[in-house]
Amino acid sequence: MTTQEDLARWIARVVLQDREAFERLYRATADHLLGLAIGVLHRREWAEEVLQEAFMNVWYGAQGYNPQIASPMTWLINIVRNKAIDRLRSGRALREASVELDDEAMNVADDAALPPERQLDDSLTKAQVDRCMSQLAGQQRQAIALAYYRGLVHAEIAEALGAPLGSVKTWVRRGVDRLRGCLEAAGIGPAAGGRAA
């Protein structure tokens, strides 16, 4: 079982251009990271490109990892998620104009992905904070899940849920804040109140 300490050690070795550590890091995390990217991009092909780009960044940018502000997995997750979101948003026009093949590929990826809300539920269960789920209203859950797992922005969430934009903004904001409270109460996430500034 790979621990966060293992990951941190390997990242530190990657700074020194240790290829073996780089491979261990990849092998230990790629499945998880690809799952995240597929959730956002719906296309395995693009998700794998994002994964590849992300690990290029890891190799060249490992010295930028600061263990004091992020766990290794959080660091990796955010590299991949941000790349996937950027790709999603820059590629939206492309996707809309794309050929039939792409549509089929998207359907396949859709079948493979869990519904966002299920992922939210599973995540909180795995982190042993199931009760945080019950503290969120249904609309808050849906809105947070579409934002986090699908990379949708407020207007898109509003469209997906058939709800007014203002309501969606409120659901996401209040939902995430409530989640913060619940996670902090459970001792999960950054300590010391979380106000960084």
Partner: protein, 251 residues
Amino acid sequence: MNYLLPERLDALAREYATGTLAGGARRRFERLVREQRAAQLAVAVWQQRLAVLAEGVPRVAPSPAVWAALQQRLFGGAHAAAARAAAAREPWWRTLGTTLFGTPALGGALAGVLLAVVVLRQQPDWLGHETYREQLPASYVGLLTDATGRPTVLASSRRHGRTLTVKLLQPLAVPPGKVAQLWALPKDGKPPFPVGTLPATGSGAVALADTSEKLFFTVDRLAVSFEPAPAAAGAAPAEGYLLSGHCVKLW
């Protein structure tokens, strides 16, 4: 607006970490994060908190080609042969069905679709002959101007790619019932051949019949005409060109 007010910063960091910060606001905030430690910390706190949400994401094993390509791109030459051999030993579409769908039967039924995608991706450059950071990848690039010389369409395609990316620099007034047809004009005097149709605005991707290298090697000009329907292979432009420009190799 003072982004560094603690409450403002916390709200922006929350939106950024959740993913709902978009467009210009997202880019501005990313710049702030690069430059300001307070912003960096605010984001880190939210990202760490929300990382819990990633726990339940279903794992998907990447194809062996991803690691092979990474090695090739990062470490180049010495790894290339080994990487290709590894990819050849285990073509990833063969294992894809089971990794993605669990059941081989379902996987098999969908493998055809995925295979088609895979084939599109199995190009030499994807395995990385380009240098990562500084250089643009070897590509064919065209800039088409209208009759007054205004740049109108930017087209580019990786040398060994099979997709042509197009960007409309200004909207194209495509008459109703017509399509904007892109043509490639070979320099050896051979007749123009159709490449694909363009969107009227924004960006698009044109799937190519072959790799750019094969299609555009002898092409030195691109042009656009309005046609009643997308031109088939072997067809000639029915109407005059509205846009044209050079097609050059970027390497």
